[in-house]
Symmetry: C2
Subunit: 417 residues, 2 copies
């Protein structure tokens, strides 16, 4: 009787979502429910206990990932990516049930509490993710350890080529001139800073990070660079950085700033930028109305993070006295990047298992899978916002971008040849 | 005694603004005040009566233009553009006096009242400007009567070439495919619609306008087009238009929508657009924090108009369920366009005088002059926002824009050859 009602609830919850493809759901009592039109993708899941089913129905945003990590929601056919795709591909326009709607409103109301990110909190948030074992990131990133959206010029080039193209694309839009001082806020393992010094000819690049693990690697790799004299890396909060800089770049860091600090962030950038300076801000944003953070990502992957909508960051940009000079929106580039990362990670999953444990590996697979579906089906996108104090800091038309990329490509060839 | 205090007030008001260049100010009692460092530009003004001086000090935003129109503020050396440049070039960071600050706050508070623009109001607002004598616009616009920002690829091409480049640039970003249905909201004299049908190969272009004068000319020119079967022009409010359309373009119309109607505008565009549709919205916006309309422009040129900041239009875009796929920002393109329009207008001022009167000619010169300074010195810019219902409606990278422009250029050559 109880399980008959569980099955009915599952049918009501999953039915409107999984209309195409094939999803089989095995319940703890052995019953199997089937959803979809029998097409592709095909996937099958199994719940080990009845409470797992109820937890998923109550709070799918948090529980799907948790139950998968705990092994209480097992994938018996296909991958967890396939399961997410089946649920999310046609989910737009399907309203969540009343309890989930209530939970969503509650999370929206609590949102400001998660977004303060004072300096100590920021350090802890960053350590949570970026201080993970260096060897983990080497399993799935490219050789330069670019941990952000690659740029696919054709769509089917290698991860290595697309990450190089990303650095080139950013360097071109940053309009780096020989001799200029560049600040890279959130420099990761230092690869973009090295590119700007070695290839784009920046006079000096300062990379700042809050991750001690990343700093150590960035310093080591920087010391080995032919442009080592032009590179310095520091463990430093952006709020403490001293300027001025002709160019500021920040890739994949703004997501950690937190909505409560947008004004402080842009005011500091304006302060650090010279009068004719140019800034390029690359971040994961939300093309939809402002939303709360995914609670699973908040809990397990990026505490204190946020994916701002344009309506959330443009007011702070204007108040800071910066002007928007260009906004490029990239979406499937990150879906493709995440798929390549996941393929590489899964191919070397045994090595990750040796570093961590089964639960960690499931968490990582879920993180890469759900992030990919977010870019494919949920209006999550990369915003590359070019900023300046004066519009005249950038050329009259955008033609300089491809011209500069051609020059950078030639310089890359000369350096490697 | 009275005039000594007038001179002192003028010194206090003009001194911090006019630091470079040379401005002489002749007062009604014959006194002459000199401002600036003696450099360029050089300009001289004369006040015919003391009340004119006080009016200017009390409300410069409204009174400068009014006094110039009335002949109570006369330009004795240089042009009114030079005078505006002297005042505005270094004005950033110079706070207005306390009385003007109070007036600004009052205007900001009153702003919503000017922005309702129900359909009848919109028609009256449009008639005020766009139903002016056709012969007036022919005096200063290019031969196709493009009454919006041209696109200067090199910076020194002719108005004619730059207006053609603008149509090409917009057609490329609109991704028009043969056979598609296109809606042009605010079609003016119909030139862009003709280009989209004749050169870009659109299947059908519907141009809507609220100006009876523009409609008549658009219909006449459309009937003479080789693509006349693909063109229709209608006197229609965008709120009344029926879809669907694969493409929507709107150039220089969104400024008349009014802040109170942003939601209605974007919701209607989403409704009219097909699932894979693309929209290009080209408008004059404000790169700074939201502001009230210039009161002189509101009173004499564009009643009910507004220049939205990105922070003012992005929330309505997100709420409507549209996604931003690209934002290009053009600024000096319009300054250059306005300068060319003004040069052409001044060269044929006698003809304008025969159509209207001296006061009208001064009004028009002031309108073109102050608009140019707004683009040069006051953070006013053109935003070209590309929108879609789904990010995948546009290609993976922006390279298609130049590729399509090359194809359009070839087609233009074939058609004219």
């Amino acid at each position: 009787m109880f399980d008959r009602s569980t099955a009915a609830l599952l049918r009501r919850a999953f039915g409107p979502l999984v209309r195409r493809g094939h999803l089989s759901v095995r319940l703890p009592d052995g019953q199997t429910l089937v959803f979809g039109d029998g097409g592709l993708p095909r996937a099958g899941i199994r719940f080990t206990d009845r409470r797992a089913v109820w937890a998923l129905l109550r709070d799918p945003d948090l529980q799907f990932g948790e139950l998968f990590m705990q092994g209480r929601l097992q994938v018996e056919e296909g991958t967890v990516y396939d399961v997410l795709e089946l649920f999310l591909r046609d989910a737009k326009g399907v309203p969540p049930g009343p309890f989930v709607q209530l939970l969503d409103r509650w999370r929206m109301a609590l949102r400001p509490l998660l977004q303060r990110n004072r300096p100590n909190r920021s350090r802890a948030n960053v350590a949570h993710h970026y201080d993970l074992d260096d060897r983990l990131y080497r399993l799935f990133l490219d050789s330069d350890r670019q941990y952000s959206c690659a740029y696919f010029e054709t769509g089917d080039e290698s991860l290595e080529a697309a990450q190089l193209a990303k650095k080139r694309h950013i360097a071109a839009k940053l309009l780096v001139e020989p001799g200029q001082r560049v600040l890279d806020i959130g420099c990761g393992w230092g690869g973009l800073a090295r590119y700007l010094a070695e290839v784009a000819g920046a006079g000096h690049v300062s990379g700042v990070t809050l991750s001690t693990e990343q700093l150590e690697a960035a310093q080591r790799l920087g010391a080995a660079s032919p442009a080592s004299a032009s590179l310095d890396y520091r463990l430093e909060d952006y709020r403490a950085t001293q300027g001025p800089f002709e160019r500021i770049v920040s890739v994949g860091m703004f997501e950690h700033v937190g909505r409560g600090n947008h004004d402080a962030f842009f005011r500091q950038c304006r302060e650090l930028l010279t009068e004719d300076g140019v800034m390029l801000l690359h971040f994961i944003g939300n093309s939809d109305v402002p939303d709360f953070n995914n609670p699973w990502i908040e809990k397990y992957i990026f505490p204190g993070g946020s994916l701002p909508s344009l309506s959330e960051c443009t007011p702070a940009i204007e108040r800071a006295g910066l002007v928007v000079t260009d906004i490029e929106v990239l979406r499937l580039h990150y879906a493709r990047t995440l798929r390549l990362w996941r393929e590489r990670f899964m191919a070397r999953r045994d090595e990750a298992l040796a570093l961590y444990d089964e639960r960690f590996c499931r968490m990582w697979e879920f993180y890469l899978s759900m992030s990919e579906t977010a870019f494919r089906y949920q209006d999550i996108a990369i915003f590359q916002i070019q900023l300046a104090r004066r519009q005249e800091a950038v050329p009259l038309t955008r033609n300089y971008i491809e011209e500069r990329k051609a020059a950078l490509r030639a310089r890359e060839a000369a350096l490697s040849g």
